[in-house]
Symmetry: C2
Subunit: 194 residues, 2 copies
DNA sequence: TTCATAACAATACAGCCATACGATTATGGG
DNA sequence: CCCATAATCGTATGGCTGTATTGTTATGAA
């Protein structure tokens, strides 16, 4: 999918690429749609857990939440060839989502998870003064995620207009508007951080 | 495409829906891809010209550019059933764009056009004090468009989380950050607008 | 050891779809 | 009126692909 496109994916070729038989693929996935759904869910979970782990590691450094988030979300942008490939399959899947309820549900759950983590991060930001208390974390989280996806799309489709660095800058601006408070370094006390 | 999804589109069914023969479709479109490309380009141009016309008409009222833009761009969001259908085909096409260079180019040109109009509107905003002179119109235009697409996607896929009004509000906030100046009403002198 | 079940392979099949092709009818300029 | 060309149709076809089927081997519990 990453190298030849979504349409080039057939169960026969998938089996061949995996070095197994078509029958074995069928043994585990009753239909092609099941296989694709699994691939999608699996891929998203994997990258999601990857950036989550990075964020948690960065959190220990006591850096500003705003900056941790920026780095974490930037990871989801098509910055280099590897991440471009990831974006390619994700965007292709997202496109099918429109016509495929099962894919749509999987995407919805994944996004809900991301949003929840973002909202938690914003709430943590309130705790240590980076975010004004009046901020509606859910709303802001949803907006940040939507912006991220928009940037992802444009950075992929039109890399000349929306360069990776430009996308990152746009994301930074978006975060800047939520994390308006000072507090350059946080206390090293225990804090609830997912 | 709007009612049964992208994959349900076949040249035979398309011909039937148009009340003509398969051969005639081939007469005008050498291949199915050509047909699809035409459909995409045509659809985008049509809605683009529609919102442009609306914006020009609204411009005569002397309203704030910020508000004119908000209304115009909101038109591209899946607010009601009609616009939901439009978004469906657009999103489906956008998804294929990732694997189809010809579609990608068409989308690129269309977006470039939109961005140019947006940038011009921002420049006009500078003229009448709605926008600070230091603003980089190209960058802001690109960001607004990316945000719009992100909101479009999320409002379509997850209408419960990103409701139409929420999407509009997010767009309004984004515009608010560019059109920071006062100037509640503009002079009725001639101005270069698009 | 036995045997049910999982893992795995090879192939057959049936449907669908884009495209090719040949033929027929309209049409408008000379 | 002629005739080249466009418009239009109906159908054939060949390739591809998802899935069903059948068969074989491994495995692990009883």
């Amino acid at each position: 999918m990453a190298t030849e496109g979504f349409e080039a994916v057939t169960v026969a070729r998938t089996a061949a690429a995996a070095g197994i038989s078509v029958g074995l693929v069928q043994h585990y996935f009753p239909s092609k749609d099941d296989m694709l759904l699994h691939a999608f869910t699996h891929a998203r979970n994997r990258t999601q857990q990857r950036v989550l782990a990075d964020a948690q590691r960065a959190d220990l450094s006591g850096a500003r939440i705003e900056h941790i988030l920026l780095d974490a979300l930037t990871e989801l942008l098509p910055l280099d060839e590897r991440r471009r490939r990831e974006c390619r399959v994700e965007l292709a899947f997202t496109g099918r989502t429109v016509d495929n309820p099962r894919l749509a549900q999987s995407l919805g759950e994944s996004n809900a998870h991301l949003r929840a983590m973002l909202a938690q991060a914003i709430r943590n930001g309130k705790e240590c003064g980076e975010v004004p208390n009046a901020t509606d974390d859910s709303t802001k989280a949803a907006r940040i995620l939507a912006t991220l996806d928009g940037l992802k799309l444009h950075a992929y489709i039109e890399p000349d207009t929306m360069t990776p660095t430009a996308a990152r800058a746009a994301l930074a601006e978006q975060l800047r508007r939520v994390f308006t408070g000072p507090c350059d370094h946080r206390p090293s006390t225990k804090r609830t951080r997912r």
